[in-house]
Symmetry: C2
Subunit: 226 residues, 2 copies
Amino acid sequence: MCDDDKKIDIKTPVMEKNDMIAGENRRYLQGLNLLTLNLISSPGAGKTTVLEAMARYFGSRMAVIEGDVQTRRDAERIEKAGCRAWQIETGGACHLDAGAVKHALGHMELEKDELSLLAIENVGNLICPSGYDLGEDIRIGLLSTPEGDDKVLKYPSLFSSIDLMIINKMDLTAHLDFDVERAIEECRSLNPEVRVFTVSARTGEGMEELCTFIQSQLPGSGPKRG
Amino acid sequence: MCDDDKKIDIKTPVMEKNDMIAGENRRYLQGLNLLTLNLISSPGAGKTTVLEAMARYFGSRMAVIEGDVQTRRDAERIEKAGCRAWQIETGGACHLDAGAVKHALGHMELEKDELSLLAIENVGNLICPSGYDLGEDIRIGLLSTPEGDDKVLKYPSLFSSIDLMIINKMDLTAHLDFDVERAIEECRSLNPEVRVFTVSARTGEGMEELCTFIQSQLPGSGPKRG
């Protein structure tokens, strides 16, 4: 639930507090030699299916934090795919913030594991999560082809802030009017440095390339991030 | 942009104020003999395509308010399909509220037209819009098949609050694992009175039935709403 028409300006101190906690999360996670991802998309774009495919690739080297308004379904799917998952049930909230992630990290005992990768699945929403740094190293915007190729310019605050765009559900493009080149060009017009991967998490198409790239970004894996 | 972790409880007065303005909008619109719809869905679920198909059916009897974070693209699509459209560009906001709709109504000169139907396309988001009454007569939740049949129980505050569920993109079900009966049953478990229409706005499948139902709800069209 959001309150934009409030009278008292509390946005600035709230964001400053979020950024401060995000910085603490980042130092803590990097201190554990973890690479942290923040996955943002619409509901149903395929974040959990992408993470299931990644869980099969990285296995016990990966852990997942699931942000969900309600239900533990996504966390259960991830656990079945082979890695540990923690659920943050947000109740009515429409995004994760750094404080919620910090709270989860306090319960996860990450230092006891042989982990190198932590993926955070944000709440399904293209708007509200884009303003909240969680302490991630790589912010990922996931766009699925049935949503339409116009979504990049409709949600510029997200697509200008990401490090990596995944275009998912490539197996459906034959049945849609989605112009992949247009979506990529419009994202690069906002965000020239963005990396793009086209995948179908359901069929596995493109997932090897995506996982190989993420592997190359893990701490101690040769040429550095970026 | 949402601020949920604020210290000061301003949610109650904000919602009371919203409900008060929504009541004013409802009285004003019903006074003009207009039926008002509030369409809520994820980004890319097909709200605009459904409204284009409705614009071809209702023509100049229908007007549309488009809520969009950025760009006038959707309003332009609706105008091309044959009815008037007003844009509310929300900037960063993730939902419409009754005040934004009231502001738009003040510019629309609806009393000069031969209108019987006003459709409000909310911002693409399954969470934040669900708490805000805009003054509509019928609240519509639109779920598209590529999003998955698990979305009803993941977003109960929306799906328990709607009068009508539209399941869109039925033409894609052959390529998906979407269980239509499951989605309908789960919606009815939250919301026993909900009406359901299955459509493909792109191919036109089911749109005649949907438009005929909405026609039957227009003021002065026989048996009353509900």
